[in-house]
């Protein structure tokens, strides 16, 4: 059975249970880490921001930050029984981008899972394009956001952001 979810409000505990049954090695003392910040840039200055809410000339809601490729927006297995789950959260971050400001506070969407739940992207990297895939594992059709650009993700049928790659 797939890990894809159809609705936005998913209990993280259910997610954890589903993952455990897929056979994590040595999960007797497994740890669950909720992360909204997978961006290593100093001061979170150069990150790709995924927003929970869509916008029009401006974006403001809880967000998820990153600056690498992400094969599955659900999260990743870090080894030693530690599993990261990616969720939105509030940060005092605001990027002034091509189509308006992308901000990361305001409360809407905090603690919601990122996968299949993001409505917008703001790419504040200096020179790499953010590629959002509509399927896990870099599959499906994609939406691209150049460095310095922001915008809404396509919501035909539903939110379907599943993985992310960069191109430079």
């Amino acid at each position: 059975m797939g890990f894809r979810k159809k609705s936005g409000a998913i209990a993280a505990a259910a997610t954890a249970a589903a993952t455990m049954t897929l056979g994590f090695p040595g999960t007797a003392s497994a740890a669950t880490v909720y992360s909204s910040d997978q961006c290593s840039a100093s001061g979170n200055t150069r990150c790709i921001m995924l927003n929970y809410n869509s916008g029009n000339g401006g974006w403001l809601s809880a967000c998820f930050l990153s600056n690498t490729q992400i094969p599955d927006y659900s999260g990743r297995y870090a080894g030693d029984g530690i599993h990261y789950y990616y969720v939105f959260n509030n940060y005092q971050i605001q990027y002034s981008l091509h189509y308006g400001t992308s901000g990361c506070w305001g409360g809407n969407g905090a603690d919601q899972p990122v996968k299949n739940n993001a409505a917008a992207v703001g790419n504040n990297l200096t020179s790499c394009t953010a590629v959002i895939h509509y399927n896990s594992g870099y599959g499906g059709a994609t939406d691209k956001f150049s460095a310095g650009h922001n915008g809404n993700l396509n919501a035909t049928l539903k939110n379907d952001n599943a993985s992310q790659s960069l191109s430079c």
Partner: protein
């Protein structure tokens, strides 16, 4: 017509088609601005010494989607175009940042290519499609970068970040985050302050006496170059991908594929679900079990002609949408060609 180019690591570097490339350039069939797609050269090393041997090709060269092109691709930005634009942006940004005393020196674009030529992502649009890759890598990318330490280029220090595009560090206020910046950057524009959302950053900020352009150097560069905008095509690209999932013929071939997979011992409803499953564990490498399933996946796609069905369904949907949006698409494409011409002037 699209020009095949070498990109696989095992293919000989010298393109035997360089003669054809020059002829095709002369006939005006493809854009042959130097460096834009390397068509006029040997194709493997481009400007700035960038290694082009791993660049995605205009059409997939192996497996079930070999040679296939969806109608909307004609209007989508390509990776070579992206590189040419970024090269121009880097040159303009570098010059602007230098005026303020900063060394802005990102790596030459083209060094970390996209997985696909454009947003259509043909090779993995409908899951995996290459039997050789399935055998060797399961559902994983063959070119998964091993250097986990690589990160995109960053600017150093709050001042450089501010001058570049008015970015402030997390938690810093406008006053303290840009030491040396003076002018009327008001506190109400700082993140977290009431009313800050949606407001434009200050337009009359200065740095060491020099006025920062609106939007920082990035804003100035944008205005000089113009914006490549393929948003209409990008919208259609995703729309038809999603809507095709509900087409009766797609549902039917999914059932046939799924039953083929069931005979091989796998319970999975659709090829895209199979791809999701493989990555749901959050692991970084394919297990033997995953590789076996990937091989079965591609075999079943082949025996059910799944790709043909998906391809013809989306082609039909796209043709209709393109017809409906023809004027807008042509307009955007014409504007984008102007941007590409301008980009070629900046190196």
């Amino acid at each position: 017509m699209t020009l095949p180019r070498t990109h696989r690591r095992n293919v000989s570097r010298l393109s035997s088609l360089s003669g054809l490339a020059i002829l095709v350039c002369a006939l005006g069939l493809v854009s042959c601005a130097p460096g834009s797609d390397g068509a006029a050269g040997d194709g493997s090393v481009g400007e700035d010494g960038v290694d082009k041997s791993h660049w995605p090709t205009a059409q997939v060269e192996r497996g079930l989607v070999k040679g296939l092109a969806l109608p909307i691709e004609h209007y989508l930005r390509t990776y070579p175009e992206e590189v040419a634009i970024q090269r121009a942006k880097n040159a303009l940004n570098r010059a602007c940042m230098k005026r303020f005393g900063f060394d802005y020196d990102p790596p030459a674009p083209g060094g970390r290519p996209a997985h696909s030529y454009n947003a259509a992502n043909m090779k993995r649009r409908w899951g995996i499609t290459d039997p050789a890759e399935a055998k060797e890598h399961g559902y994983r990318l063959p070119q998964e970068p091993k250097d986990d330490d690589w990160r995109p280029y960053e600017l150093e220090g709050p001042d450089a970040n501010y001058v570049f595009d008015l970015t402030l560090a997390s938690g810093a206020s406008a006053a303290s985050g840009a030491s040396g910046a003076s002018g009327s950057s008001s506190a109400s524009d700082a993140p977290g302050a009431p009313g800050a959302s949606g407001q434009k950053p200050p337009t009359d900020a200065t740095y060491k006496g020099n006025r920062i352009p609106e939007g920082g150097c990035r804003g100035e560069t944008d205005r000089k170059l113009g914006t490549y905008d393929d948003s209409l095509a990008a919208k259609i690209n995703v729309e038809t991908f999603q809507r095709a999932k509900q087409a009766p013929e797609v549902l039917a071939v999914n059932r046939r594929w799924s039953s083929c997979m069931k005979k091989k011992g796998y319970r999975v409803a659709t090829p895209l679900e199979a791809l999701n499953q493989a990555f749901a564990k959050g692991t970084t490498e394919a297990s033997q079990a995953e590789t076996a399933m990937a091989i079965a996946d591609v075999e079943c796609k082949k025996s059910t002609h799944l790709i043909d069905v998906y391809f013809s369904t989306e082609t039909a949907l796209q043709k209709k949408r393109i017809e409906e949006e023809q004027l807008g698409l042509d307009e955007q494409k014409a504007k984008n060609e102007k941007v590409m011409k301008r980009a070629a002037e900046y190196r």
